[in-house]
Amino acid sequence: MRTRVKEFRVKHGLTQEELARKVGVRRETIVFLEKGRYNPSLRLAYRIAKVLDASIEDLFIFDENELGGE
């Protein structure tokens, strides 16, 4: 999974700590999320998208192969 959270966060002039506080998680979670090492829950993804004024699809980009399924 690729994320554009950092890009949108910087665009909004937010630090990792500020974003973490706004969405109610620890800063470390934002760090791992930006590195693409953590898959957030739909609830967290939605909260981040709302704070960063973007859609979930804009922030989290999944590779079709990675998703699997049919």
Partner: protein, 136 residues
Amino acid sequence: MINKRIPAIRSIIAIIFLVWGLCWFLYFEKTLVAISISLFFIVIGVVFSILSIYEILRYKKTGEARIRLDERAELNTLKASRNCFRFLFASISIFFLLLNSQLLSGQHVLKILLGLILASTVILYFASYYFYERRG
């Protein structure tokens, strides 16, 4: 909301460890192993007590609870608990086997399970949690 409950949860954990350590100190023979295990539990209890008092004071002063538990931390807690469960299950199975083959007495098995195995499980829990936290 859950983060506001953290100091309270930590206080309960601290009391459990302190009671466990005192039980070991007061009710078992004063061997080196028993004293070490009781000290281990008491130290953990004291550390948790200090942390919870600090958090409560901080919360009363600022009205803000530091975010310590989020979904990733909860997930890592669950993973660490799963490791501990597997370890405890394996240990209990092995000691039942030893008990049934009469290699160890029931008293010994109980002592080992309540002391060494429990202490190892606590260490395993913290080590696993730390490992998963570092990994992401």
